[in-house]
Symmetry: C2
Subunit: 493 residues, 2 copies
């Protein structure tokens, strides 16, 4: 067994440590020399690239175009929107100078005091301000609308406690920013992008999510309404996986973006913004993986199939190569990414453990007896089950198996979520259940005050009001005041 | 004629202004509210995305993997490599604080003096330092080599005089950073990536380039050898379009990156780095475009074919739609990106001028008479020639035409460069010719002193010593000292 695998903490021992270990040992990411900033290693980045490609195609299918806006934002821009500044201006990286000079008192370099900027610049924590300042010049008439832009970029928020992928000072994300002629159209856009995110999470990440709306307290700073997709991790905690905001006319007013409508009247533009980030990597890792390492959904795995030969000498290897090489070609022709690992500097046992750690969905093993019998040993990573299959037609077999694995891990995650989702009707029940984790469906009186008290006492927050919540008369779990529907409480990442 | 086009400065009047006008009017990019930082607009970004995709595939075909390293670099890292700090530490964005606070004396926000960083952080001007600091932990033995990483990211250099795409404070680029066990292997890698860049420039951008090596004076700060591809713009000035550096063991020594070689000895690792940036957009625009607007190479054009219908009423449009829609499908099946612009809110003349301005390589126009005759009017953007072609088989015709245009604009650019490349043997000739622009092939005595004097007197720099320069006895154009080969002098962007 590979050393890396032996050192992996078990989930039951310490779920949090298991996650940290796994991210590092599976070569996904690591801490950098800069506080709170991570290095995304090639294997982790390959998964992120696959996510990007899928999402980008989905965005473009709705008419969105990519663009690029500046990294730096003038400090004063943040103050334009009253709520936005409260949310984002506090913990951020501030550029104050534009030059270094040789240290007159020694070696090395120091900041040149003469190169102080007139106005400080902030590294973007999100780009509503700089983008709406730009949109002012792009939008004149209803004919310029809708304007649907997205950018893939880095952003920075000076987080105090960071965790790889889940919460880092710098992270990679996409941020969509759209401008519309009517409130209805902007709201429909916000919902459409929420649906794109949910669809992506479920179809590609095999991640079941609850679509809902945030309470006022949890809203994006500057939004009228924030929609969210919430996922449940294996420890029963929630992970907010993507948000889509209806911004009303808040940023249009802050940056004076008006258009001439079809009735020839000047009106402020309506806005949305929406984003997902490298945090999705954290959700992906935590949802499916096990004590042997990563479990990757076939639709996002950089390597979908690995083939390992078992041989005692070069003649045996040559025989296996002759059988495997055409299989590799045929798998690739089916669009399946496959690695044939016939390197002779590692033992098969080491390779097995390593590919399990890396979450490769399907492993094929061939030895001399398989060649004789026309068989191959198939191992599926999700269940770790092994069995023998005929070599003849193995490509179609593998293709179907990959789809089966994709479906199976989705179902497994969905069953897990359902098994840890509870209707809770008394405060005692609530306090008891929240300690065990899970989603608590409970009535709430609709006030921020109650929400904050519950959070103080239990560390549970309202993850969302599900979009499909049924109307139901009830009493607030905390105050007993009337409520019309249940909301989802949970502890969260 | 569209207003935008009428306002476009002519190249002969003011080449520099023509370029600036074109970038803005063709919706490629614009200045932002932040000094020296540009906004890349959707049409410009779509071209950049195509470039990225092609280059990324070419890198990966050589075994390179993508990764991501932090935006911010500790100030002290820059001082580790003596030459590197001279080249990059001077004009850069310095992060000194991590928090803003409400202004106690009024509205808005100010820097919180208590949130001063212990060590200032620099926004990366290039990432050798942070990457080699990371590689120290990734490399132990020759088995870990070669290590071939690339990242697509933003970088920042505080330029005083900026021009859209050509020189901006923030720009997008890729930077490859490779680590090798031997000097020979690293040098071969640097040359291999230079060839990838040249190949990309010629095959996709239709941009002929000279491959060469930089003089000591023009080398990347910290490199042993800098290789470059140099292109000539229409005004005869040179544009450095990509560089690839052999870094020797300089960064390995600065960051203490050693490996155990096959002889079981500890040795410093050998390095390369190589990059191209959004500057390539400037090269693309300046090389092929004309007084009517952009001319885009078909291999990088976001829209390769536009189809415009000419009609007087809805019946006529319906007839044209019925003919065009299947043509659109068949073109797309051939992998050609096509836009059928049957919007009725703009006149055909406006559309024609707009697509010319945007550089769409092929325009097809159909009116009622074409439908009757089974013909279509074909306009190619590179020559602006129009002719009638049979509708039958138009897809294959267009496909071939796109390749012909790609070839034609490459040949045109190559002929232009050759017509403006001169062998110059006297200093008087040199001074006269440099005023007219072009590449001057001249002998040089090999000293930095002479190079700098020539630059002072003529603003010409040595663009490169061409890799294929013939050995030839000669005398330095400036000092008369002996020289063994000609180098390329030019004024440059």
């Amino acid at each position: 067994m590979a050393k890396e695998l032996k050192d992996l903490t078990k989930r039951a021992e310490n779920y949090s440590q298991w996650y940290n270990d796994l991210v590092v040992k599976a070569d996904l990411a690591e801490q950098s020399a800069v506080r709170g900033c991570m290095v995304i290693k090639p294997y982790g980045y390959a998964i992120w690239e696959k996510m990007q490609r899928c999402l980008d195609d989905m965005f473009k299918a709705t008419g969105v175009q990519n663009a690029y806006f500046p990294l730096l934002i003038p400090k004063s821009f943040l103050s334009r929107e009253a709520e936005h500044v409260e949310g984002f201006a506090k913990e951020c990286a501030v550029v104050t100078h534009h030059r270094l000079m040789n240290d007159p008192n020694g070696k090395g370099v120091v900041v040149d005091p003469e190169a102080r900027l007139e106005e400080e610049l902030i590294i973007r924590p999100t780009s509503e301000t700089i983008i709406w300042n730009t949109y002012r010049n792009w939008i004149n008439s209803y004919r310029d609308l809708p304007l649907l832009c997205n950018q893939w970029c880095n952003v920075m928020r000076w987080e105090m406690r960071t965790r790889l992928f889940l919460r880092t000072a710098e992270f990679l994300w996409q941020e969509g920013h759209t401008a519309h002629a009517t409130s209805e159209e902007a709201q429909a856009e916000a919902i459409q992008m929420l649906n794109v995110y949910a669809d992506f999470a479920e179809r590609y990440m095999a991640l079941p999510v609850v679509k809902g709306v945030k309470t006022a307290n949890e809203r994006f700073a500057g939004a009228i309404e924030t929609y969210t997709i919430e996922a449940m991790m294996q420890d029963g905690k929630a992970l907010q996986s993507g948000t889509s905001h209806f911004l009303g006319q808040n940023f249009a007013k802050a940056f004076d973006v008006k258009f001439i409508n079809q009735e020839n009247q000047l009106e402020y533009v309506w806005a949305t913004s929406w984003g997902v980030s490298t945090r999705l990597m954290g959700a992906l890792i935590m949802t499916h993986s096990d004590d042997n390492g990563l479990v990757l959904p076939p639709h996002l795995a950089p390597i979908q199939v690995v083939i390992v030969p078992i041989y005692k000498n070069n003649d045996q290897l040559a025989d296996i190569d002759a059988v495997v090489n055409p299989v590799v070609d045929r798998l690739r022709n089916l669009g399946i990414s496959v690695k044939y690992d016939n390197a002779d500097n590692k033992r098969p046992g080491f390779k097995f453990a390593d590919y399990e750690l890396k979450g490769v969905p399907v492993r094929l093993v061939l030895g001399p007896r398989d060649i004789e019998n026309g068989t191959v040993e198939v191992m599926r990573r999700d269940t770790l089950e092994k069995h023998s299959a005929p070599l003849e037609g193995i490509e179609e077999y593998v293709k179907n198996l990959l789809e089966a694995i994709q479906q199976n891990i989705y179902t497994k995650a969905l069953n897990h979520r359902e098994s840890m989702t509870y209707k809770v009707d008394t405060w005692d029940e609530f306090k008891e259940q929240i300690e065990k984790g899970g989603f608590l469906l409970a009535h709430w009186d609709g006030t921020t005050e109650t929400e904050e008290k519950i959070k103080e006492e239990t560390k549970a927050t309202i993850r969302c009001i599900p979009l499909d919540a049924e109307e139901e008369e009830g009493k607030c779990i905390y105050t007993g005041k009337p409520s019309k529907r249940r909301v989802i409480f949970a502890r969260n990442y």
